[in-house]
């Protein structure tokens, strides 16, 4: 126990160590978090009227980001599956970064739900009268928390074993890894069911929502990991092979292609049928009765996704810089498409045909930015702590300052992080 507390204490101290750029990055994130907290405090005092949400459009930016982030969290599974099912060696030591990102993404997703609540002070009512299994939201609470615990366990266990220089016991994490694979798919499926189960919102009431969510998540998530791993490769000694990038590139390409296909299927059904149920799709893609707020956004999203898809199919994306550009494009594209492009149009027009448009307010945007910054802060710290531990440069038996003092010379030991091997 004492060893474990000491481990946590060391991790805490480690998170404050870095060079100027590290500090600048963390300071920037902290500032954004502070502004987010400030904006949220105003929201608590004045109510959700500080957001652009209305009775007509009763979910907005928060829930859009929540949906996107649940997908990002689920996407960690796209690293796990190649490694644990297809025995991919290249990705083996990188899986943990996907799982750590899942942790950060789940925390962000849950924060987005929390800030969306009108009465956060009554959060405990969830524990007292839990409408399970009837309400899909209770399913979501369960699967999200379960997924968070699973990933915390897997990552925490592996990192702690590396710290103790122990070989991880397979019985303690392999079963959890396989549960987490199914679980990852479940979190995004349940989140999709949250929407597609509502008969009163024809835009959501489609069986293709869950597959679409998964496809877009499996494109955006690994794309984000490509960006993370390139940062890791550039700024640390952690080994990231080109082959790892290429494997992820394949995952991203296939998922994005499936996502675009599903989007096209959805659009065809809505527009060819041309029933009254297509009003929301019209609003999204073409505008409705002079209301066009989302039109430029969705077409930028489609343009970004198509461009990324074309790039990914070409050999140009074998170059890391082009791959990074394509990934950035598709992350933004999917963020728009399944955030604002999925949540808001379902409310326009309202079930009674009224059209009220939604625009996030500044305060709402600050809260959103604050949560994103908080999540990235968390992820940065997790990676910051994990890298030296898994590289074998910070272990139990080493003196803290000595261990990190040696770090500058540790470049030679790129290949010698064997203790971290699972």
């Amino acid at each position: 126990m004492k060893t474990y507390l000491r481990f946590l204490w060391r991790c805490f101290r480690l998170s404050f160590m870095g060079d100027g750029r590290y500090y600048a990055w963390m300071f920037l994130l902290t500032v954004v978090v502070l502004f987010g907290i400030n904006a949220y405090c105003k929201q608590v005092v004045q109510g959700l009227g500080t957001t652009g949400m209305t009775d007509q459009v009763s979910w907005g930016f928060y829930i859009a980001n929540f949906t996107f982030l649940v997908g990002m969290a689920a996407a960690a599974v796209m690293l796990v599956i190649p490694v644990y099912i297809f025995r991919n060696r290249e990705l083996h030591d990188l899986v943990i970064f996907g799982e750590l990102f899942a942790v950060a993404a789940i925390v962000m997703a849950m924060l987005f739900v929390l800030v969306d609540l009108g009465r956060p002070d009554r959060f405990h009512h969830l524990l007292l009268r839990f409408n399970f299994p009837v309400s899909m939201l209770t399913w979501d609470v369960l699967v999200l928390n379960g997924y968070l615990l699973l990933n915390l366990h897997i990552c925490g266990y592996l990192v702690y074993c590396a710290y103790r220089r122990r070989e991880p016991s397979r019985a303690f994490y392999i079963p959890f890894v396989f549960v987490a694979i199914v679980w990852a798919i479940s979190i995004h499926t349940v989140t999709a069911f949250l929407y597609s189960g509502l008969g009163g919102r024809p835009f959501w009431n489609s069986a293709v929502v869950a597959p679409r969510f998964l496809a877009s998540a499996f494109a955006a998530g690994p794309a984000f990991l490509i960006l993370t791993l390139s940062v890791l490769a550039r700024f640390t000694s952690y080994p990231v092979t080109p082959k790892a990038f290429l494997t992820l590139r394949t995952v991203v390409t296939v998922s994005l292609a499936i996502n675009m296909f599903l989007l096209g299927s959805e659009a065809f059904t809505e527009f060819y049928t041309d029933s009254a149920h297509g009003a929301s799709a019209h609003y999204l893609f073409l505008g409705l009765h002079g209301h066009v707020a989302l039109v430029p956004w969705i077409w930028s999203a489609i343009a970004l996704n198509m461009a990324a898809l074309v790039l990914l199919f070409t050999p140009w994306t074998r170059r890391l810089s082009v791959l990074q550009a394509a990934c950035a494009m598709l992350i933004v594209g999917i963020w728009i498409e399944k955030g604002m492009g999925m949540i808001v149009p379902a409310f326009v027009p309202t079930p009674l045909g009224e059209i009220v448009e939604y625009r996030p307010t500044l305060n709402e945007t600050l809260v959103t930015a604050g949560i994103w910054a908080g999540g990235l802060l968390l992820y940065t710290i997790l990676v910051r702590v994990t890298v030296p531990v898994l590289s074998g440069r910070l272990t139990e038996d080493q003196d803290f300052s000595v261990a990190l003092g040696n770090e500058s010379g540790a470049l030679a030991g790129i290949g010698s992080h064997g203790t971290a091997n699972r």
Binding site: R13, F16, M17, G18, D19, R21, Y22, Y23, L34, F35, I37, N38, C41, K42, V44, V45, Q46, G47, L48, G49, D55, Q56, V113, D116, L117, G118, R119, D121, R122, H125, L126, L128, R129, N131, S135, L137, L198, G199, G200, R201, R234, F235, T236, S237, A276, P349, T350, P351, L352, G353, E354, R384, V387, P388, S401, L404, G405, E407, S408, L411
Partner: protein, 386 residues
């Protein structure tokens, strides 16, 4: 590459940890200053919370208050007393607040005669006056939609119609409020069971239990639910002191509310406010388990429909039309009458009591229109909802 690494070692950067061996006086100062600065920034970030009034925070009683269905009579009485005190403090009126249970053998149903509704919006405002909704921002349970004749496509409706007078000749009026569905999606989705259906068919909300996630608002196909996006504002003198726990007691910021068929009135045998105010008698309310009630008569004798039947919510709110009543103002009927007068001579206008065809004549004038089609929209209406 070496110098690009983020963990170049502690010698470059002082850790804010006082236990760090490399600590110098200067770095201690800096670290302390950074910590103090960070705390100041955090305090500044939290500063808006100063505006939080005591009424925004739940007091201990409220925090520990149980779900409506779990409260013992004692606990309910305590909760009621707390609410009475809060209302009295805020509005300087002692409310007549109680918890009303559904009556046995009663299932409420609402029927609305679209042939009679003239779109005057009196129901909208009578409802607001009765149910203590926020006046600004405005919360209304009833939305009256002006529909072009010939369609039930809600998208073609106009919510903001503003003619000098109503009804407008080329439109009909479709008021919508909570349909008190027998298969309510809002109840299904609520994660904390803050909303449920009672035995008399009314779907109610425990305003002290709702967490404000607005999932029910997304689930409702009739756009019947309203959220308190800010602290509701209600002038003291406009407070209706006749209130019940599950109906019109003042709500807090951040909770849902909706039409509850005025249960503080209807569970005592009175009519809902919207029925009472309706100047044309278009609104009908009653117990569907009573075969003599007006709503039972309507369900038996009229052609009724519900909005969006295809979503399977089984509303208890029915719309109906009248048959075309004889309308002696109809120019066509009058034209026929004039023709008959010419053709059949001076019998028209005969004195009451004298024998003569006057009565048959009126009937025949009317009968000429009897087989003519009803509203042009009639066929669409039978065809189902928008």
């Amino acid at each position: 590459m070496t110098d690009l690494r983020i963990h170049d070692g502690p010698s470059h950067v002082p850790a804010p940890d006082p236990g760090e061996p490399a600590l110098t006086r200067r770095s201690f100062l800096r670290t302390g200053a950074a910590a103090v600065g960070g705390m100041a920034a955090l305090a500044a970030a939290l500063s808006p919370l100063r505006e939080l009034s005591s009424s925004d925070l739940p007091n201990l009683d409220q925090f520990l208050q149980k779900h409506y269905k779990e409260m013992t009579p004692d606990q309910m009485e305590r909760a009621l007393e707390r609410i009475r005190a809060q209302v009295e403090e805020r509005y300087r009126v002692r409310p007549h607040l109680r918890d009303l249970k559904p009556m046995d053998g009663v299932e409420f149903v609402y029927a609305l005669n679209l042939s009679r509704c003239i779109g005057c919006r009196k129901c909208v405002h009578a409802c607001v006056a009765e149910n203590n909704q926020s006046r600004s921002p405005e919360i209304q349970y009833i939305r009256v939609i002006e529909m072009p004749r010939g369609t039930l496509d809600l998208e073609q409706g106009n919510h903001r119609y503003d003619h000098p007078t109503v009804p407008d000749a080329n439109h009909f009026y479709l008021p919508v409020q909570c349909h008190q569905c027998a298969n309510p999606p809002c109840v299904k989705v609520c994660p904390v069971e803050a909303t449920w259906q009672e035995s008399d068919g009314i779907t109610v909300i425990d305003y002290d239990w709702c967490i404000g996630c607005r999932y029910c608002e997304a689930a409702c196909p009739y756009w019947a639910r309203r959220f308190n996006f800010t602290e509701p504002s209600l002038p003291r003198e406009q407070l209706n002191p006749n209130m019940a726990y599950l109906s019109n007691r003042p709500r807090d910021k951040g909770v849902m509310e909706k039409c509850h068929f005025c249960l503080h009135r209807t569970r005592e045998g009175r009519m809902p406010a919207c029925v009472e105010i309706c100047p044309t008698g278009a609104r009908k309310f009653g117990n569907v388990l009573d075969p003599d009630s007006e709503v039972s008569q309507i369900l038996r004798s009229k052609r009724v429909f519900v909005l969006k039947e295809e979503v399977g919510t089984l509303p208890r709110f029915f719309y109906y039309f009248d048959e075309r009543y004889p309308n002696s103002l109809d120019p066509e009927a009058i034209e026929i009458a004039r023709r008959l007068e010419r053709e059949e001579g001076a019998q028209y206008g005969a004195l009451p009591g004298s024998s003569g065809p006057n009565r048959d004549f009126v009937a025949s004038a009317v009968a000429a229109r009897w087989d003519a089609p009803f509203l042009p929209g009639a066929s669409t209406i039978d065809g189902g909802a928008a």
